[in-house]
């Protein structure tokens, strides 16, 4: 154990110290986080601002119906981070060029051109900063109201502002999934499609990445001849286990950091402190803790299964070119479940999906997809985990036997027959 610990320590520390690890683990999610909060941050900056908007009314309806005196408080709309006021005024001049100059010189925040019969056309809004979502949303809802009330007027229906608001509010369709036991559960399939898919994509990337990283590590040790010293200190099994655990922990660290970032976003979403696109917000509200646990379990199973194979392959090769060909079957074992989930995710409980999720090589991705998108019977989940666990133990032992002999081989790559002999010995 002491020996395994030292290999583990080196593999972990050397990899965690690398720049590339810091970039993929911290910088990338930090940037994502930053972009998520950017509207919020911008909103804070523009707090209390008064937006003066000129309206060029070529229709005539707006002049009569827009309450020019009353400015609109932007905070009135829930979830919009920007605070401030919007006040409209009807522009006296009709020249767009002149208004543009006013915008540039910041006399006004922007201007709106309302064409004749605007209710069946588009309205144009000109401004310097087109990223001000709060402002744009507010303006568009105001003019939507105007357009609808004009349409109603043409039908000779007169209604109050209050009634108009009621007419405009839509309803949401909530879908419920009925499980075989008759329980109903709020389905979040549509919104979680992309989330589950990105979870699986990250899983796929990490499995492939760490697999080939560990393989390259072994090849490097062989080609740099440091292997000989290592083998005088470690048994091949200790070496392989140390590597497997050390590199696996790097992957686990990365996943936990990602989850921490997701958690931070989740906290902000639940507190409703920050504006998010409603889709994003819903996704985070629907993620539960169990999904994360399953994710880690399936990551670990997949990692040990695939990476031990990669380590075995690495031990057979003296150079990376050598590895190109023999790693292909293993790479396919990772690609196949990834590609199939893209199709299966639309019908996660189909027979083929169930079968694939129970085949150990495909379990990590396919079963995770099922767990995340539907309600698979628990016995199937458990069975798949047990099956994958048992096969992982076999694969690790099998790879360790190849590794034991492979690490000392140089030059000619052994034939398949020879490899079979090593495993039997």
């Amino acid at each position: 154990m002491k020996k395994i610990r030292e290999v583990f320590r080196r593999e972990y520390l050397e990899r965690v110290k690398k720049k590339s690890f810091w970039i993929t683990t911290f910088v990338v999610p930090f940037l994502i986080l930053l972009f998520t909060f950017l509207p919020f941050l911008l909103g804070v900056v523009s707090k209390g601002k008064n937006y003066k908007i000129a309206v060029v009314d070529r229709d005539g309806y707006v002049k009569k119906n827009l309450d020019v005196e009353k400015s609109i408080d932007m905070k009135a709309q829930k979830g919009i981070p920007q605070s401030g006021k919007i006040s409209f005024f009807i522009s006296k001049n009709d020249s767009i060029e002149k208004l543009k100059k006013d915008v540039i010189s910041k006399k006004i925040a922007g201007f709106i051109v309302v064409p004749k019969n605007f209710e069946s056309k588009n309205i144009s809004f000109y401004t310097l900063n087109t990223n001000n979502i709060g402002l744009i949303l507010k303006i568009s809802s105001k003019f939507k109201e105007l357009a609808i009330s004009k349409r109603l007027e043409r039908l000779n229906i007169k209604i109050s502002q209050k009634e108009l608001k009621k007419i405009m509010s839509g309803i949401k369709v909530e879908t419920f999934k009925i499980s075989k036991k008759g329980k109903t559960k709020k389905s979040y399939f549509q919104i979680s499609f992309w989330v589950v898919f990105s979870f699986i994509f990250i899983l796929y990337m990490i499995l492939l990445m760490y697999g080939s990283i560990s393989m390259r590590g072994v090849i490097e040790e062989k080609s740099s001849k440091v292997m000989e010293v290592l083998l005088s200190i470690y048994s091949p099994f200790e070496l392989m286990m140390g590597k497997l655990l050390g590199i696996g922990f790097v992957g686990l660290t990365q996943i936990l950091v990602y989850m921490a970032f997701a958690g931070i976003i989740g906290v902000f979403v639940t507190l409703e402190a920050v504006m998010f696109l409603p889709q994003v917000a819903d996704v985070f509200k629907n993620l539960n803790f169990a999904i994360f646990i399953y994710y880690i379990v399936f990551f670990l199973l997949g990692y040990f299964m695939y990476t031990s194979m990669f380590l075995g392959i690495g031990s057979l090769c003296s150079s990376e070119e050598d590895a190109q060909n023999i790693q292909t079957p293993v790479v396919f074992l990772i690609i196949i479940p990834f590609v199939s989930t893209i199709y299966l995710i639309q019908n996660p409980e189909s027979t083929i999906s169930v079968i694939l999720s129970l085949i150990p090589f495909f379990t990590p991705m396919v079963m995770f997809m099922r767990v995340a998108t539907s309600n698979p019977p628990f016995w199937q989940v458990l069975l798949s985990i047990v099956l994958t666990f048992i096969s992982t133990i076999f694969i690790v032992r099998f790879s360790a036997r190849i590794f034991r002999t492979g690490v000392l081989m140089y030059g000619k790559r052994p034939s398949f027959k020879e490899i079979v002999r090593w495993v039997r010995e």
Binding site: K2, K3, E6, V7, R9, R10, L13, E14, E221, S224, K225, V226, M227, E228, V229, L231, S232, I233, Y234, S235, L408
Partner: protein, 303 residues
Amino acid sequence: MQGDTLFELRGVKKRFGDIKALDGISFLVERGEIFGLIGPNGAGKTTTIRTILGIILPDSGEILIKGKKFSRDMVDMFGYLPEERGLYRKMKIKDLLIFFGRSKGVYGKDLIDKIYYWLEKMDLLDYKSKKVEELSKGMQQKIQFIITIINDPEIIILDEPFSGLDPINRDLFKDTILELNKEGKTIVYSTHNLEEAEKLSNSICLINKGKVVLKGKLSEIKEKYGKNSIVLECDGEINFLKEYDFFMDIDIYKNYAEFTLKKGINSEEILKILLDRKIKIKKFQVVEPSLRKIFISTVKPGA
């Protein structure tokens, strides 16, 4: 402590496919000696060393260390310098030494002290924060040597320790080896350089084609071969000596010859023949045979 067996190989055999790499190797190494494992390239030196270290398992035969069969927990007793040197190129020197030190069971302050001691001794202290790949080849060799001995091993095994070294490092390694030996470490090293083995070893084991050809204390071997070895320097044709059936082996150059007499043949008889032929003798000396001579005479096919 002389005369105390530290480890022993008994009839060790190892095949690689059709090739008999080791064909019943047996020898014993005593505590505190410098033991030279000698043989031409491909004789099985590296394979022998690898079996001692447990890197490869013999097909048959056994390896006893302090009377016990080799097991994994004995690995920390050894320090091993492989023939093909290799380090983690991207690691910093200090981290590298910490890794190998810890791997071999040295920790904490003790380890740091040892690292500084050896870096200073090898004149590499300024490079401790540099990466391996930034060092010259000679420096990397020194680092590899430090790794070998960082755990203060009882048995130091060096596979061709002097190959590829410049004269300065060669002396540094040699002095360090002698110093370590003085401290009581047992040193086993392999070489095909016989002059070196002759100067350094207490005991030798000569192997060829996986078999032990000659083994024992160097002094005893030399004595055994020494009484009938003759070096001759002269003026004149001496090729005729080959016609006589007096020699175990004979090596004739233009004005120089080395030969070993068969048992029962007296050196005076040779001298008499030479005088009869009126050869001008510059030097006629009974010598201890060089290891080279012994090597050639034992390894040469048909000799």
